[in-house]
Point group: C2
Chain length 215, copies 2
C-alpha cells in the first residue's frame, strides 16, 4: 500500500536513512509534549536528534509535514478503537459495561497521544483538510459504530425516530474527545477522573439508548 519511504528529492531511503528519519520523528514527538507547538523549531529537533537542519529538510518539507507523519502513524493505531463499540450489546448490564469501556478506552488513547492530538485538533479546527481527515479517521472508527448502534435501536423501536443517529454519535464522540483533551484541566479544577468517567459513561448510555443504565 504505502510505497517505499522517499526523501524530499526523490531518493529511496535505505536502512540508515530510515533510522535517521525515525529518530527525527521521535525527537519531534518528544518536543511536542514539552513545549508549545508554535515554538518547535526545525533546528531544535535536528540538534536533539544529533543531526543538522539540512538533514531534516531531506525527509520532511517542514515541521507541519513531519507532524502529519506522526499523526498518520497514530491514526493507524487508532483504528483499534472500533473494537470498543463494534459488536457490543447496549442492553441491560452489558450496555452499561459497553459505555464504561468505551469511555475508558477513549480517554486512555487520548492520554497516550495527547501531544500530537492537540496539534491535530488545532489543524482541523483551523480548517486544514489533511488534519481534519486524520481526525476523522480516528473518530470515525468510533462514530460509525455508534451511529449503527443508534440506527439498530431505532429500527427496534427502542429509540425515538426523530434523533439523527449521525448527529448524536458525533456529539458524543466530540464530547469524549474534548474531555480527554482537557483531562489535566478538569483535575486541576477539582473534578477527579473517578467522577468524570461515570458521568461520561452515563451520557453515552443516555444518548445511545435514551434510557438510564441498569448497573
Amino acid at each position: 500500500m504505502t510505497g517505499q519511504v522517499r526523501t524530499v528529492d526523490g531518493r529511496v531511503a535505505g536502512r540508515r536513512g530510515q533510522a535517521t528519519r525515525q529518530k527525527l520523528l521521535d525527537c519531534l514527538s518528544e518536543m511536542l509534549s514539552t513545549e508549545p507547538y508554535r515554538d518547535v523549531k526545525v533546528i531544535d529537533v535536528a540538534r536533539k536528534a544529533g543531526t543538522s537542519p539540512a538533514t531534516f529538510y531531506q525527509y520532511f518539507p517542514d515541521v507541519e509535514g513531519a507532524v502529519l507523519e506522526l499523526a498518520e502513524e497514530m491514526a493507524t493505531e487508532g483504528a483499534s478503537l472500533t473494537d470498543l463499540v463494534a459488536g457490543r450489546s447496549w442492553a441491560g448490564k452489558s450496555g452499561w459495561q459497553t459505555a464504561e469501556e468505551l469511555v475508558d478506552g477513549f480517554l486512555g488513547f487520548w492520554r497516550k497521544h495527547d501531544a500530537i492530538l492537540r496539534v491535530v485538533d488545532l489543524g482541523a479546527a483551523e480548517g486544514d483538510k489533511r488534519f481534519y481527515k486524520i481526525r476523522m479517521k480516528i473518530l470515525n472508527a468510533v462514530t460509525n459504530s455508534l451511529t449503527d448502534a443508534v440506527k439498530e435501536l431505532q429500527s427496534k423501536g427502542k429509540v425515538d425516530k426523530d434523533v439523527s443517529p449521525a448527529a448524536m454519535a458525533g456529539s458524543l464522540v466530540a464530547m469524549l474527545a474534548a474531555v480527554a483533551a482537557h483531562q489535566k484541566g478538569f483535575q486541576s479544577w477539582g473534578v477527579k477522573q473517578a467522577e468524570l468517567k461515570p458521568s461520561l459513561a452515563l451520557l453515552v448510555h443516555l444518548g445511545i439508548t435514551g434510557k438510564k443504565p441498569t448497573k
Copy 2:
C-alpha cells in the same frame, strides 16, 4: 479595575497610542481567522496595521501576549453566557426550551469568536495557565450554573444522588465547546446544523434532568 493601558516600557498610552494598539489587535484578530496561528508573524500584523514591527513591540511582548489580550476581551463578553442558564426552569416544556437556547447561545458565541477560541483551546491544552484561566472564565459561567441546576434537582430527589454535579456539568460544557469548535467539520462531513442542535439539546436535557424532554 483595569488600570491604565501601558506600553511595555511603562509609559501610559494616550489617545493616539490606544488607537494604534487597538488597530494592531484588530489586525491580529483578522489574521488569526485567515491563517494558521503558527504562521502569524509580528511583521505581518504590523504591515497590515500600516505600522512597523517596532511599534508592535511597544505594546505587546510578543504575539502570544497580544493574543492573551484579545482573549481577555472576549472572556469579558463571555460572562453574559451565564444568562443562558441562570434562573431558568428545567421542568416540562420550559426545560426543553432552556436546553435549546443554551445550545443556540453557546454555538453562536463560539462561531463569533472561533479564531481566538481555537488558540485559547490550544494554549489551555498545552498547559499554559494563563490560557487555561481564560478558558475557565468563559466556561465557568455556564458550568457553575449547570452544576447548581443538577444539585437542586438532586435535592428534590429528581436526579440520582450518585451523579457528580460538577463532572456532569463539565462534561456537557466540554461537549458543547468541542462541537462548537468543529462546526465546520461536522458540516463538511454531512451532518447539518439543524440535526446537530436537537441532539445536543437532548443530551443536555438528559444529562441535567436524567429524563427525556417533553417538547
